[in-house]
Amino acid sequence: MEDRRAVRKRNSGERGLALLAALALGLYVVFLVLPLLLSLRSSFTNENPLKAQNDFIGFANYTEMAGDDQLKASLTFTLILAFGVTIAANALGVGFALLLNRTSLSYRVMRTVAFLPQVLSGVIVAFVWQTILTQNGLLNTALVKIGLLDEPYPWLGSPHAALFSIGLVVTWVMSGFTTVVYLAALQSIPLELHDMASLDGVRGTQRFRKITWPMLAPGTTISVTISLITVLKLYDIITVLTGGGPANSTQSTALYIVKLAFTSDRVGYASAVAMLLLGLSALVALTVTGVLRRREVSL
């Protein structure tokens, strides 16, 4: 009796665990895999909420992309932003990490502070930067007052400057993250390596090149990949800062997809562009990780 009850209890316990696991997988399938498949299906249709009926139109949406100037502009913008921010944020991250890799209290405070931008939501970050960068903003007011500028500079108001400004803001946010990753990587370098180097008389830049940099490689892989993916799906900062303007010059592919699907009534085409972005993200993520991982080994 006693025994059978224990077995039954145990069996229900097994089932309970399997059930929870299945529930998790089920949610993932319903809210990620299924939407992905629906999106893929929609990309072969002319789905449009203004029309009563949608038809399968084969690859027409995909061929249309080839001649879409807005799409091309958005891809160029997105890729420049993604790679620009990744390079800048990682360079800054390594620099910060080297600078802040000390134990005294002041350095610990500075490390804490450096991560703050990551904690604030993109909406807050963008609003605060907007007050700084807008035409009558704090930066222009200050620069004109101290005589560095004769007239306000359009930080958000000309296509090139807006690209730069968005890059600056996103880099600012991402650097907090890259700094922490590189700090962690720095601290995982075995002390003996440095000691040996000191004995061999290897110092300064040489030491950085020969020891620190190669040992940072795993950190670089993580940090670069996550920076790239984050920028590829970035939505909130751009939406608040410029809304994609002026003249769609800062319209990232993610923004373009949302615009097509939600305000231009072109759901089918939006799905096709979404598939392109998905493919691009996968390609970038896989190649970059692949290249960096191989580099980890060879270094």
């Binding site: 807008t134 930080w155 003249a247 759901v267």
Partner: protein, 425 residues
């Protein structure tokens, strides 16, 4: 003990449900009221208080209605309405949207025409394929050019320009005195397009009232030579430095303050700007119609109005009732006249009947509505049959922003023709 996590999950799930019920639904059910959603937009003059007050007043006249206000997050309220529709929450009532963007999908319900005919001076001002989706409570001129008299005097400009040559001359004189000639709130796409709306309405529609109908019939194109010539005028203004170099970074709300505080001498804007003229310095501001080549007056006219009704509203009859009450409420019109520069168009009433205090520049500008002059549909703003096809407004705005930095007039206009083709499909 074993059930603990499951239990926790269940409790959390229940919590989620109660939380949703607690803050969702917007209430109103228990008292037998019907809750309707109403999309509005805020501007510096039409602030939250205006909408709340006007909703309270109209609700009082519409028993059984409970209005839940939704505020559009940007000046692009058509875009936001679309977004809501796409995510399955199209509002029941929509203030000042462009009906042509929604009628195609059968999303809007027209108003009762006898009511429209009985109450408004121009019953067909907003008529779209024979139906009226927005009560023509008021009208607008989009754009007029507002100017700062003191700055004009400083630059030695004697009178408001009427011809294009005089206009350019005025700009040159202002620029020579280091005064920024034309204000542009270019960060908001609609505001960025104002000079272009003026140019196209005056030069193209002024000569061919039916241009938009002809465009629908494919008889004319944006890429036609006369349009290219007209739009090149805009490039002239840009390349001569008559706008602030950073104008595309100036938000619409900021552009108003910049103009009213004397940072620029002229401001082409819809007549709603009249509501933002500061009371204490109102005498310093004047207005003139967008200048034409020979000085003929062309008035880009729009029948403005109140709200459209969703065909899918929970109770369309009740929604219409609310819309009617709101549209005819004299207090709303008074507020719209005073703060939004609306030109009232309700039958049998003059400006005096609304008990409003308006500025001289308002009266001068309003005069163009009553005069017998060449009124044309303001391109991109008309809510009647001359409205652009769905989505074309955005393309038009984008072209205006693009032409601020690019010289390719013909190319941008060709893009508009292509966008038209896609939209018409």
């Amino acid at each position: 003990m074993i059930r603990k996590p499951l239990l926790a999950a269940c409790v959390a799930g229940l919590l989620a449900l109660t939380a949703a019920c607690g803050s969702g639904d917007g209430g109103g059910k228990e008292s037998g009221e019907t809750a309707l959603t109403y999309l509005v937009f805020e501007t510096p003059s039409l602030d939250a208080k205006f909408w709340d007050d006007s909703i309270t007043a109209a609700s009082a006249q519409t028993p059984g209605v409970k209005i839940n206000k939704i505020v559009a997050p940007s000046t692009d309220r058509d875009g936001y309405a679309k977004q809501l529709q796409q995510s399955g929450q199209f509002p029941d009532l929509l203030q000042s949207i462009t009906p042509s963007n929604f009628v195609g999908a059968g999303l809007l319900k027209p108003y009762d025409k006898t009511w429209i005919d009985a109450n408004f001076l121009l019953p067909s001002a907003n008529s779209l394929k024979g139906e009226v989706y927005i009560p023509p409570t008021n009208s607008q001129i989009v754009p007029q050019v507002y100017y700062n008299k003191q700055l004009f005097q400083q630059a030695g400009i004697e009178k408001a320009p009427t011809t294009w040559a005089e206009f350019l001359d005025a700009c040159a004189k202002l620029k020579a005195k280091n005064i920024n000639p034309i204000e542009l709130g270019g960060a908001d796409p609609f505001a960025a397009s104002m000079p272009l709306v003026g140019i196209v309405s005056a030069d193209i529609l002024g000569k061919n009232k039916n241009w938009l109908q002809d465009r629908y019939a494919d008889k004319v194109k944006f890429a036609d030579a006369d349009m290219v010539t007209a739009v090149n005028k805009y490039r002239t203004l840009v390349t001569s430095g008559y706008f602030d170099k950073g104008a595309l970074g100036v938000k619409y709300a900021d552009s108003i303050t910049r103009f009213t505080t004397g940072k620029s001498a002229m401001y082409p804007m819809g007549s709603w700007f009249l509501g933002s003229v500061p009371k204490d310095t109102a005498d310093n501001f004047g207005s003139f119609p967008w200048p034409t080549d020979n000085g003929d007056v062309v008035v880009p006219f729009v029948g403005g109005g109140s709200m459209a009704i969703s065909a899918k509203a929970k109770d369309t009859a009740l929604a219409e009732k609310f819309g009617q009450a709101w549209s005819l409420n004299p207090a709303n019109l008074k507020a719209l006249i005073e703060t939004d520069g609306a030109f009232p168009m309700i039958k049998g009433k003059t400006l005096k009947d609304y008990n409003v205090t308006v500025t001289k520049v308002f009266e001068d500008s309003y005069a163009y509505v009553g005069q017998d002059n060449n009124k044309v549909s303001a391109i991109g703003w008309a809510t009647n049959d001359d409205a652009l096809p769905a989505g074309l407004n955005d393309a038009f705005y984008a072209a205006a922003q693009a032409l601020f930095t690019k010289d390719d007039v013909a190319g941008e206009l060709k893009k508009l023709d292509e966008a038209w083709k896609t939209a018409a499909q």
